[in-house]
Each structure stands twice: as structure tokens, then as C-alpha cells.
């Protein structure tokens, strides 16, 4: 069997085509990526960059901080597992990032060690490490520190919500969404919520609820809830309709309100708005949540604000500039930052306008006072209640 000239030409053309595409791509890369500059690069590890809260943080870092300080914040793709987070951290290190901010929460202790070995600063911008990881990492030179709501703050946030609905709204029957319990953050909020409502779990109240659930192998069984306020409970998200059906059942039961320890504005806001059932959530001050509060039935929102990442940036910049903020014994700091709570649309709008991308709470003037500050003044500034009055 012989190959005809036209066929040889066709294969030759194909190979030439592939080579041409590769060369064109290389040229594009040279144009797109070429040239270094003095911008300081920081990698940001995220588990999900598409949520409203994540977008708020991203806009603050990329549209405000980056411009004010000549920094570049490079975001990771969605990271699902510890091995993906580690590989992405290695990629950031390979891309000459001076620091990495972790918001993905995948084996943080290990990432702190990796960054320290490679002389890249590591900071936690949202949430907290476990005590064990923090104790193992706090003396690492390149571990900057962590700022986020600690578990006590999470508990108190749930407690305040429960107390508000019991004492002010006088509820007797509520739907409750436990989000991703046994996720510890959601479990602490739930313990606070039940306690605030005056209910108990297996006869326990307060943070003992958390210890009871952990003692049961992290199994949370809503049939163990008892008290004056009747609770119709659901949790989880399968993405395939079953949870929507369950929430529909709760709505059909005509509760006084639907109380959530997280993620309701993401999953069920439209359902609850349509049913005109009052609901609460712990999330963040985003445009979408503002709309639900204004035109929907979201009536209570405890949330983070976008520029609450400001202090961790200030700490990173301090470290990069050689003026690291450390505890007196040289350890990395661990500071808790609270939530803001809006109970009306007007209050929400006041908060939102007080923290915009163009005029954030942690603006350049405030950040400049934090960069290179002593630990004590830094701690005072982070823990200061900045709720707009």
C-alpha cells in the first residue's frame, strides 16, 4: 500500500498547523506575560471563589489594596482537597509569590511548614487553624498569623440570633437549617442558636452541646432537641433536589421563622422569599444579600464585611517590609474578629455603604497605621468593634 502525495501533504500540513499554533501560543505568552515589574505578588488559596463572600474579599484585595500598595493578588482555582491545596501552594511559590493567604482551610499546619521551608510568608485570612496546628506553627518565622472568627465568636453569633428570635420575635416554632454540621463552625453556631432559643440537646445547653455531639462521633440527631421552641430541622446540601423538598416541607409546616447557621442565602433564599417566610442567616454583607433583605424576607443577617481582610494584609506587608508583627515571645498572632449584625434593610444599607470597594472600613489611612505596628496596637485595632453607628 503506498501513500499518495496528497496524503503526505495532508499529514505535513497537520504537523505544520500544530507547530504554528504552538508558536502563536508562545508569542501570545511572551506578549501576555513578558516583562517583570516591582509589584509584590501574593497567592490566595480558596475553596470556592464564586460565593458572594469570596467575591467581596476578592474585590477588596484586587480592586482596592492592590492599587493602593502596588500588590498583585493571584487567586487559586477551586481547591477541593489537601493535596490540591499543597500543589497550588507549591505553584504559587514557584511563581515568586512573597506570601500566601489561605482561605481554603485544607491542612493549614502543613501549608505553614511548606511556606516556611521555602521562605514564603503564610497567613490565614478567614477562619482559624485547629489549636494543635496553631501550636505547631506559631513559632515558624514565615507564619504571619491568623485573623478570623474563633469558635467562641461563632457560638456567640448563634446565641445572639437565638436570643433575638426568642425574646424579640417571640417565636414558638421555627425551621432550622444546620448547614454542614458536623462542620465544627456550623456546630458551634447551632449550639449557640439552640441555647439562645432556650432549647437543649440531650439535656445539654451552651458549648456542652458541641462536646456532646463530638462525643457521639460527630453525629447530630435533631430528635435530641427539646425545649419551648419547637424546631423542624434539616441540614446538608445534595444539589439534587432532596434538600429543596425538605425545606419545602418545613415551609409548608408554617413555622414562625426559618433560622440558619449558614448557606441559606446561597441555597434557599428564593424559595423562602417566594413563601414570604422570614429567615435569618450568618453569611456576609453582599449585594445579593442586600437585595434579599430589601425585597425578600431575609430579616436578620450576621456577616463578615469585605475589608475585614485588611488587617491580615497589613500583617503580611509588615512582614515583607521587615517589620513583622509578632507576640512578645516572638510567636505568630491569633486574633478573633467578630461579625456585624443587620436586622433591617436600612441597617444593612448603612453597613454596606460604610464598607465599599472604593471606601472600605480598612482603607489606606487605617491600614497605614497597622503596617509595622506593635502587637498590642495591632490587636486593639483588629478587635475594635467597627460596626457603623
Amino acid at each position: 500500500m503506498y501513500m499518495q502525495k496528497s496524503e503526505i501533504m495532508a499529514i505535513s500540513k497537520f504537523i505544520k498547523g500544530v507547530t504554528a499554533i504552538a508558536l502563536a501560543g508562545a508569542s501570545m505568552a511572551l506578549v501576555a506575560c513578558g516583562g517583570g515589574n516591582s509589584t509584590v505578588k501574593v497567592g490566595v488559596l480558596v475553596a470556592d471563589a464564586s460565593g458572594d463572600e469570596a467575591i467581596g474579599f476578592k474585590n477588596y484585595l484586587q480592586q482596592y489594596v492592590a492599587k493602593e500598595y502596588n500588590y498583585e493578588f493571584v487567586y487559586s482555582p477551586q481547591l477541593d482537597s489537601a493535596e490540591q491545596a499543597r500543589a497550588q501552594a507549591e505553584t504559587f511559590i514557584g511563581q515568586n509569590c512573597k506570601a500566601i493567604i489561605d482561605m481554603a482551610d485544607k491542612n493549614r499546619g502543613d501549608l505553614a511548614q511548606l511556606c516556611n521551608t521555602n521562605k514564603v510568608y503564610f497567613a490565614i485570612g478567614s477562619g482559624m487553624m485547629s489549636d494543635e496546628d496553631y501550636n505547631a506553627s506559631k513559632n515558624l518565622e514565615y507564619f504571619v498569623g491568623q485573623i478570623g472568627p474563633d469558635m467562641v465568636t461563632e457560638y456567640n453569633t448563634g446565641l445572639a440570633m437565638g436570643q433575638y428570635y426568642k425574646e424579640t420575635k417571640k417565636v414558638s416554632k421555627v425551621g432550622v437549617y444546620g448547614a454542614f454540621i458536623p462542620n465544627p463552625m456550623h456546630l458551634y453556631r447551632m449550639a449557640g442558636l439552640l441555647t439562645g432559643l432556650g432549647d437543649t440537646y440531650k439535656g445539654q445547653s451552651g458549648q456542652n452541646i458541641v462536646y456532646t455531639v463530638f462525643g457521639d462521633g460527630a453525629q447530630f440527631d435533631a430528635s435530641n432537641i427539646a425545649g419551648d421552641v419547637t424546631i423542624d430541622y434539616c441540614s446538608g446540601f445534595d444539589g439534587e433536589g432532596a434538600i429543596f423538598g425538605r425545606v419545602g416541607e418545613i415551609i409548608a409546616g408554617n413555622p414562625d421563622a426559618f433560622l440558619s447557621v449558614g448557606m441559606t442565602t446561597t441555597f434557599f433564599a428564593d424559595m423562602l422569599d417566594k413563601a414570604n417566610l422570614e429567615y435569618s442567616d450568618i453569611d456576609s454583607f453582599t449585594t445579593a444579600n442586600g437585595a434579599h433583605m430589601k425585597t425578600g424576607s431575609l430579616k436578620y443577617l450576621a456577616g463578615k464585611y469585605s475589608s475585614s481582610l485588611g488587617p491580615i494584609f497589613a500583617a503580611i506587608k509588615s512582614a515583607i517590609d521587615g517589620k513583622a508583627i509578632r507576640l512578645a515571645n516572638g510567636d505568630a498572632f491569633s486574633l478573633s474578629q467578630g461579625y456585624w449584625t443587620a436586622k433591617s434593610s436600612a441597617e444593612f444599607e448603612k453597613f454596606q455603604s460604610a464598607d465599599s470597594v472604593t471606601n472600605p472600613i480598612f482603607n489606606k489611612t487605617v491600614l497605614d497605621t497597622l503596617i509595622g505596628a506593635s502587637y498590642d496596637s495591632f490587636k486593639a485595632a483588629v478587635e475594635l468593634d467597627r460596626t457603623p453607628q
Partner: protein
Amino acid sequence: MEQVMENKKPKFDKYKAKKLVITLLPLLALILLFVFYIIILNVNDYNIMMNLRSLLNQSLILVLVATGAIFIFTLGQFDISLGANALFSAVIGTLVYKATGSIALLFIICILVAVGCSLLNALIASVFHLPMFVTTIAMLSVLTALATFLIQSQGSASGTSYSINLPSELVDKLAPLDTPIFKIILLGIFILAMVFIFNFTKVGRKQKFLGGNEKCAKLTGISISLFGIIAFALAGLGVGLGSSMTVVYAHTVSTTTASSIGMSVFIAIVFGGMPINGGARSRIYSALIGGFSYNIMTNILFILFQSMEGARDGLVQVISGVFFLAIVFVASINYRSKNLPR
């Protein structure tokens, strides 16, 4: 005389040439992508060694699992439970390693559990005469549920999730294995062993025959059950090694460990030129070439679209999807030949 001379000219076999080009395309693509990647890293003044190290870490587990899984794909079968099997074996291996501190036991247990789960797939399919695909779906649910239960009951709360973390002294013991040299040696030995079984033993040849024409193979006396069991056992070996190396690399297991493996294996072997229906044209090295090609391409796209962050992740997915379809199309040119595979 002229005619005699013409007849003595080396004949250019159209079929062989076409086959050679299509066979070499994945390798050519890998080389081009690699060169392109190095250029981009160089232009950006990135740390090339660190990026290559990251590439190896991204690809190692995928290539180990995918190379073993080639034996299943060669039969024209598909195992959707590979990721769940990797997770479950990693959980058991981690618990044993935490209890004993023995690295050898970590590897042995991971491999035994993975091979056991894989064989269970084949056994259930064989006993109940179910399609392999169906049993692997059931196994996916069972293994994920078991792993989740073990992680929640044996693990600890860390921030927003549960995981089983290794204490620092056990992490330190794994350090010599978490090096590029060890990983390359492990990968090399495993792939050479798989190449030998696939290309130079009856097992590989009979599996290709089964994948190409099951009825015909059966008529010649080849046992479908036996070679199905062998295929799943070898796939389990790859999963076991992959899960061991996951523990060595990540030092933790959570419910999301190896979560993307199942689909990535399929994408990788297709990128590497493996026919989607298996059979005689199956190639054992598809996993190696495809695993690295896919990760290099993704890394390149992330660097190229770094400045378009809002649309970056979506763009990378779309372009990867287009590449995937293009590769399947080019590869299928080979299958559309009227000639029987040679």
C-alpha cells in the same frame, strides 16, 4: 530496467505511516506542551524547578492510578469508583500508619485494601452477572460512606472540616519519600512493570483481544471473568500506590481526598491517546503521557489567563473541553479505518 529500479524503491506503507503519526501524536503534543511550558516559566522568571516539582506532585497520583486503570479500560470497561477506592484505602492506610508508625505497613495496607475493593467489584459483577460499570457505581457509594464514617469517628475537627491528620513525628518519617527522586523511581518501576505485563505477556494481549471483540475472544477460550479479575487487581495496585503517595504528600485524609481522581483518570488516558472503547489499540503509556499533558496544559492556561481572573477558571475548563473533544476526534480517525487493527 527503470521499472525494476522503481520496484526496488522502499515502499511507503500508507497504513503504517498513518498509524505511526497518530501513535506519536500524544507524545509530540506532550513535548510541545512541555517546551511551551518552560518558555512561559522562563519568560515570567518563575522558579522552573519548583514548578516542575509541583507538576510532578500534581501528576504522580493521577498517573499511578490511571496506569493501573488502563487494564480495565482496555477491556472496554469503566470503573467510576477509583477515587472512592483511593480515599478508602488512604483512610485505612493512615489509621494503620498512625497506630504502628510503619511506612511499610502504610503501603502494604493501602495496596491490599485497594486491590481487595477492586476485586470485590469484579467478583460482584461476576457472581450477579452485572455490568462492571453498575457495580462500580454501587461501590462508589459504599466506599465513600465508609470512608466518611471513619474520618468523622476517628478524625478531628480542623477549622471547617474533619480530617485524620498525621502527627508531626510521623510526617517527618515520610519526608524521604516525599522527594522527586523517590517519586520518579517509584513511577518508573511501576510503569515499567505495567508495560511489561501489558506488552510482553499473554495477559496484555488477551485483554486487548477481549476489549476488541469479546465474543470472538470467548470463542477462542479466553475467560472473561479471569481477565476481568486480573484487570481489576492491577488497577487496585495502581490505586493502592496512589493512595499511599497521597498520604505521603498530603499528610492528611479528609472526605475530599482524591475526590477528582475518577474523572481525571478518564481525561488523562484519553489525552494520552487511549481509545475510549479499549481493545487492540490500547496503550499502557497513555496514562503517563496524558496525565502530564493534561496538567501541563492546565498550568499553561492558568498562567496565560491569570490576568483575566473573573473568567479564568471557566475559560480553562472550556479550552480543556475543546482540546478533549479534538483529541477524541483525531484519535478516532484511526478507529474509522476499514482495516482491522494490527
